[in-house]
């Protein structure tokens, strides 16, 4: 065990934790008597600085990761670096949205919890060991429960937090249960060894046990990414949580969880890569005439099937349920479920080369960016009108043209209209799926996904229709919706990024490939 190595590998996490402590000290110590506005600004800026520091340490600490006893615990570089950078950038953006918020007086604690949850996200993204995965997920989730409950005056917030917490606790226990079976079958908690063990034990007749384990794990991870049928927490949490917290849940937590799914899928295909010590491989020669075993159980065959089922259920149910929503936050929640469905399709049909990993990361990153912006707009409108129902968007183009333009760009991007980034993300992801296998089943699934995104246009247009087409209920001049300049700047920057990255898709793709070049 090499503690210097561990320190080097966990530098970004350490930077975030230090920043969290600094925020607490400054807010509760130095600025205790200061005005709330100043405290919010300072805490948010310190948090952003912490994210920046972590991003910087990510650049300087290069290596293959941290191993213990010959098994990799935390990986570094490659898609993990891209995912971790994404987590830090998205966290910083959600912190900037805090500046205009009034839902809590305990800003120091809020920012500290966000930073700690983000460090959990970093751990999840890099973990290569079942125990580390679990610890990372719990660190992330505990932070999210607290953040959901942070608006103490609001009953909705408390209700959402309790629901989220109960669901989360249950799904964590499912996950741990599944992990324990995997450990029992393989005798190891290291991902590559677990995968290898499942191949071996599957051939020894351990299949039912293995299936139970996989279903349990799917339940646990499906909860994290809000896949149907483990999605029930999402609408309530998105509705009840304070807007910056909801944005954090919708973006950073999603990104970390999908990074974990990428890790699992990558290891599934590349599990032999990580055995550096020499070993021996046995070949079984099957004589001609003897039928080959038709199905080889193991991670490779059942796991994609489970993910496909989750994916189809999420796409269909998410999009159809979103049609009926009258509350924009719930609409965003169901659309998040639908988007998770598209991404899960990419995880289910995962390519040997890096193409799928990059396409999924591209999707989650840009989706996270867009959805943070969407929650920012919702927060501004909520503050002005006191409601997040569809009707509070009426006449937005008159009440704040710039905000209406931002909303238009973000929602059209979510529905996948070119030249915005959401379209490119979808195209890239679906092309990656079809690149893995061009059989009728992937074609049918991609066709379903494309058809469902056509459905999604309807509910996004419902919001835009209110913003642009229908007149405001209160037509008196002077009912302008005002936003804090910083919030507005962040929102405009996000919208600009959505347009620019969509017009030049190679920019972001090149950035991801600079971490994880396509072979």
């Amino acid at each position: 065990m090499n503690y210097a190595d561990l320190f080097r590998v966990t530098l970004p996490e350490t930077a975030l934790e230090v920043a969290a402590l600094v925020v607490l000290i400054v807010d509760l110590g130095i600025l205790r008597k200061a005005a709330l506005k100043l405290r919010v600004a300072v805490a948010a800026l310190l948090g952003v600085a912490g994210c920046g520091a972590a991003l910087w340490t990510l650049q300087v600490s290069y290596g293959t990761g941290y191993s213990f006893d010959g098994a990799l615990l935390l990986a570094q570089g490659g898609y993990i670096a891209a995912a971790q950078s994404g987590i830090l950038i998205l966290t910083a953006l959600t912190l900037l949205l805090l500046i205009d918020s009034t839902f809590t007086r305990h800003v120091g604690e809020y920012v500290a919890v966000v930073l700690m949850a983000a460090s959990g996200g970093l751990l999840v993204a890099s973990a290569q060991d079942l125990l580390v995965i679990f610890i990372g997920l719990e660190l992330l989730s505990l932070g999210l429960y607290i953040l959901t409950a942070f608006a103490k005056q609001s009953g909705k917030s408390a209700e959402a937090a309790i629901k989220y917490y109960l669901f989360g606790g249950m799904s964590a226990s499912f996950l741990l249960f599944g992990f324990s079976y995997l450990y029992g079958m393989s005798g190891s908690t290291s991902l590559p060894k677990v995968i290898l063990g499942t191949y071996l034990s599957a051939s020894n007749g351990g299949t039912p046990l293995f299936l139970i384990a996989l279903v349990m794990i799917a339940a646990g991870l499906g909860f994290k990414v809000a896949a149907v049928p483990f999605h029930l927490w999402a609408p309530d949490t998105y509705e009840g949580a304070p807007a910056p917290a909801a944005a954090f849940i919708a973006s950073v937590s999603k990104l970390a969880s999908f990074a974990l799914l990428i890790s699992i899928s990558t290891v599934t295909l590349h599990f032999l890569d990580s055995f550096h010590t020499t070993g021996f491989v046995t070949f079984t020669v099957i004589p001609a005439g003897v039928p080959r075993p038709s199905i080889v159980f193991g991670f490779r065959s059942i796991w994609p099937l489970i993910l496909t089922v989750l994916s189809v259920a999420s796409m269909v149910l998410g999009n159809l349920a979103a049609l009926a929503q009258t509350n924009v936050r719930r609409l965003l929640a169901y659309s998040a479920i639908a988007h998770a469905g598209y991404i899960l399709l990419g995880v289910a049909f995962y390519s040997w080369s890096n193409r799928s990993a990059n396409a999924i990361l591209y999707y989650v990153l840009t989706y996270g960016l867009t959805t943070i912006g969407a929650f920012g707009v919702v927060a501004v409108i909520e503050r002005a009108t006191g409601s997040d129902r569809l009707d509070s968007f009426l006449g937005l183009h008159k009440r704040n043209p710039l905000l209406a333009a931002v909303l238009g760009v973000l929602f059209l991007s979510l529905s996948g209209i070119p030249p915005l980034v959401g379209f490119w993300a979808k195209f890239n992801l679906f092309a990656a799926v079809l690149g893995v296998s061009a059989g009728p089943i992937p074609f049918a699934l991609v066709a379903l996904a494309v058809a469902m995104s056509a459905v999604s246009l309807y509910y996004y247009l419902q919001v835009l229709k209110r913003a642009y087409v229908m007149p405001a209920i209160d037509e008196t001049p002077g009912n302008q919706i005002k936003a804090h300049p910083v919030t507005m700047a962040v929102l405009v920057a996000i919208a600009t990024a959505v347009v620019v990255l969509g017009c030049f898709p190679a920019l972001l793709q090149g950035w991801i490939e600079s971490f994880y070049p396509i072979l």
């Binding site: 030249p419 379209f423 074609f443 494309v450 058809a451 229709k465 642009y468 087409v469």
Partner: protein, 502 residues
Amino acid sequence: MLVWTIYLSFAGALVLALLPKDKPALARWLSLAVAATGLALAVQGFIAGMGQGRTVLVDLPWVPSMGIRFLLAADGISRVLVLLTGLAAVAGVLFSWNIELRTNEFFAFYLALIGGVYGVFLSFDLFLLFVFYEIAIVPKYFLIAIWGSTRREYAAMKLAIYSFAGSAMVLIGLLAAYTTAGSHSTGLVELAHANLPVSFQMWCFPLVFTGFAILAGMWPLHTWAPTGHVAAPTAASMLLAGVVMKLGAYGCLRVGIALFPRGLDPWGFSFIGIGSWRDVFALLAVIGIVYGALVALAQTDFKFVIGYSSVSHMGFVLLGLMTLNQIGMTGAVMQMFSHGIIAGLLFAIVGRIVYDRTHTRQLAELETMHLSKRLPFAAWAFVIAGMASMGMPGFSGFIAELQVLVGAWMVNPWWTLVTGVGVVVGVAYTWRALQKAFFSDALPNAHMLEQEHEHNFAAITWPEVTGVVMLAGVSLFIGLYPKILLDAIEPAVKALLAGGVQ
């Protein structure tokens, strides 16, 4: 220079969106300047491109890792349709001169739509084509939903959903073709030369063709068109009928037929005389021609008459494409141009000149207004437009429909015979509308007469005169001298028939 039509339109849209709201006159003149410059560029490009085949205008790597290029090029078909877009754009601005509500936003959406249309006609990369195709959908929605009339929100949403469903089908086809061809390139030329398997083309062709044909108003997926046309503000319905429906037809030709030519091969068996996708779509086109004409005959709303006539006329385009012979397909492209001009003219007369003064489109009410005396300009303009629409010799519609009918006869005489019925009905509905709206001698009742004296119609304005003269003049000019377009279209069609994209 042709590519500047695209950039200029989008730049114009952006500038108009940022323009202060209290300067409607500035917005009008600015958008007229942008549209007119676009037309000038289109004319210049058309003249410069005479006698040339496909010329590449811009070719830049866009997403190098996936082989997607920003490839803009023009061949004879593109140049003709870009010219049409330029004409329709200018005419549309002229007939929107009286828009007072959120003027700058109206023209911003309008120019964004125009930019997308130019982009589709000039793209030679399937991905790029699709991007422009989708860009054109969103402004349509807002144009109809904000500035429209009769049931505008319903019509706008219907149109958006139909368009998006169609483009979803195209997107599936695009993804499928891209991956089946080996994920190297989305260029139209490369995909056409990728030797896509026949079995693949057999399912991908109908998918992509139907996806585009939704926007071309193919029966029975045409129902967005009449409601959309009726609800849209005049300029938007001119553009919808004039160029947006052509986007669909152009996609059918450039993507459906050129990339998946084997998809039109016989299935090897036939069922009640239908033995290939070609027969299927030709049948739908013929039904569309007759059905559209018959339904137009029964309408009580003046604009619905024109809306259904568009469905009928677009049927000629689809039928021409399905002939797969030189004369029929040339006719199809001619008909795209001709219908774009004539439908624009008809919608301008009905939607702007008549409706904005009478505030009704019900033929029964128009009957009592003696419009031929009170709006003689409108009446005579409609006479000319109506003659052009029903395919009188001397107008562009005649040569186009004749070519389509000849081409169809060469393949299957029954197509031509049934279509002939549609042509006759076409004469009937046009005369019926003309007679009822303008030349009826139904006496107004006493109450109406009273109103008539205190309520005179606003005078015809110069933008209206200019627009009518321009569109009618073009239709007449092309009718008398079709060679100017045919010289551009024929080589391009020949190249397309000879082996996908040259």
